[in-house]
């Protein structure tokens, strides 16, 4: 971590006010700092506001209370310095894989030749060669998420915001994607904020895991999970298992609370 944190979140609260029904406090007084090129996982039960925090950071929701700044500047709306990847891909279904990946580059006004070369290199990076001209409806879930990841990596955001990106994938594909994400991140270091409710995933991918409490969402603890993730048997290594166990115990109470105290 560099001396100056890249992302500073201070005292952020967020309340959803639906047109009908009662208000929901999604986040309450959340403060968090993330260093440059750090991989941070936001972990918590569903409904703990972890996605809300990501959307605030992305500038998609207005910050009503508290402050969020990136590189010293307050967040005011979405920007290509913070690229987001959604759980359900959010690909443009009327565009091919190639055109999806090229969209952000077109908006930046990149010249055609340069753009095509960049798209091709991203297609190769995420292993989608041969599917450049397919539409999203013709792809499997894993391939859709590869396309979404390539589309976001294309415009080279300094910060990657990932909202349960592998949550909609089957177990094998998910594991494959986790390994690939880790290797991509190691090759092109970026700051990553990764929202998940999967403890193993969080420990495997992240340098630090911020455990969040159930509604209203607060940061309960931050656990350091930085160790060598490259060995084949990392999932069986004792320090890995211990970390998963430690964090699982922290999350457990919150998960029970989120289920309405009925236990699991």
């Amino acid at each position: 971590m560099s001396s100056q944190p890249q992302i500073v979140i201070e005292g952020v609260s967020h309340v959803y006010r639906p047109t009908r029904g009662k208000e929901v406090t999604a986040l309450e007084n959340v403060s968090l700092q993330v260093g440059q090129r750090e991989f941070l996982a936001l972990l918590g039960p569903s409904g703990c506001g972890k996605s809300t925090l990501l959307y605030l950071l992305g500038g998609f929701l207005p910050i009503e209370k508290g402050s969020i700044s990136v590189d010293g500047k307050p967040v005011a709306g979405p920007g290509p310095d913070r690229g987001i990847v959604f759980q359900h891909f959010a690909l443009f279904p009327w565009k091919t894989v190639r055109a999806n990946i090229a969209y952000g580059l077109e908006r930046q006004g990149m010249a055609r030749e340069q753009r095509e070369a960049r798209v091709q290199s991203l297609v190769d990076l995420v292993g989608l060669s041969g599917f450049e001209d397919s539409y999203p409806s013709q792809l499997s879930g894993g391939m859709k998420q590869r396309t979404a990841l390539a589309r976001t990596l294309a415009f080279e955001p300094a910060i990657l915001l990932m909202d349960e990106p592998f949550g909609a994938l089957d177990a094998q594909t998910r594991h494959l994607m986790q390994t690939e994400l880790l290797s991509i991140w190691q090759r092109t270091p970026k700051t990553v904020i990764f929202v998940t409710h999967d403890v193993q995933e969080a420990v495997y991918l992240a340098d630090r895991v911020a455990v969040m409490s159930a509604r209203p969402g607060r940061i309960k603890t931050i656990v350091d999970t930085k160790f060598d993730k490259n060995s084949r048997d990392v999932f069986k290594a004792p320090h890995f298992v211990d970390k998963v166990d430690e964090i699982w115990n922290l999350v457990r109470d919150e998960a029970i609370k989120a289920q309405g105290g009925r236990g699991m």
Binding site: A90, Y135, R151, F155
Partner: protein, 272 residues
């Protein structure tokens, strides 16, 4: 080679099952037409009440060297021009209502009251204002066909996932670019459904307006035949209208498939 040899019987089977489908689908229509011919010739009804199909087709054949093409052309012109104006204006209006609270405040009640209203009731006043020529007929078509387009556009735009819009904003698209490059194409399936509802309405209103105002056009020709107690002429016009309507609706379905190649439905069998 083995693969090619294998592929042939499958293609043949596909072809025959597709051909079988066409036969099965059209057989109902053929059956009805044969029933018409036989019933009209059975003596149960007079030629005046129900002329046989063959006599009606003969009449259409004769008309084909007369006013048929002028009538078909004029009706199509009024229906299609009205439909196109309704399509463009309806999509624009739907976008404006989805985007601006002022437009919503102004147009929402007008649409709520106007949609269920029989617009054809305005025909007398439109005749007084705009006369009995093309302007008034096309205005009636626009007035009637615009409602399903506006509502389908609003519903389509409302249904666009916010993640899609956020993704585009994230990649640096301006609000205008988001509207034209993301919201509109994402809402296209719904908008096309609205257009598919509006097209037959356009044809119906064009013909009813022609029936009321007279002159050339399929509706006008039918009324003229009716006034001269020419029952064959009336039935000929009915068959012509049915064929024109069928062709228009089919063309629209083809256009939909073309525009929605990316959509899952493009690989499913057509219903319309």
């Amino acid at each position: 080679m083995a693969g090619v040899a294998h592929a042939e019987p499958i293609d043949a089977a596909r072809f025959f099952s597709a051909a079988g489908l066409v036969v099965a689908r059209s057989s109902v229509v053929v059956l009805l037409l044969v029933g018409w011919e036989l019933f009209a010739r059975s003596g149960a009804v007079t030629m005046f009440v129900l002329p046989p199909l063959s006599a009606v087709l003969e009449r259409i054949w004769i008309d084909a060297s007369g006013d048929l093409w002028l009538n078909v052309g004029l009706t199509l012109y009024r229906a299609v021009v009205g439909f196109l104006i309704a399509a463009v204006a309806g999509i624009m209006l739907g976008m404006a209502i989805s985007r601006s609270a002022v437009a919503r405040w102004f147009f929402d009640p007008i649409i709520s009251v106007g949609f269920p209203m029989p617009k054809i009731a305005f025909l007398p006043i439109v005749i007084l204002w705009l006369g009995v020529y093309d302007v008034s007929k096309i205005s009636m078509v626009v007035f009637d066909a615009i409602f399903p387009v506006v509502t389908a556009t609003i519903i389509g735009i409302q249904g666009v996932e916010k993640e899609l819009i956020w993704s585009a904003r994230n990649m640096g698209a301006s609000k205008r670019e988001v509207m034209w490059q993301v919201v509109l194409p994402a809402a296209l399936p719904q908008i096309l459904t609205g257009l598919q509802v509006a097209l037959p309405i356009a044809l119906i209103v064009a013909i009813v307006a022609e029936m009321a105002m007279g002159g050339y056009g399929l509706g006008g020709a039918m009324m003229t035949s009716s006034r001269f107690a020419d029952s064959r002429g009336v039935f000929a016009a009915l068959v012509e209208i049915a064929i024109v309507g069928y062709v228009l609706v089919k063309l629209m379905a083809v256009l939909r498939r073309r525009l929605l190649v990316w959509h899952q439905e493009a690989s499913e069998p057509a219903t319309v």
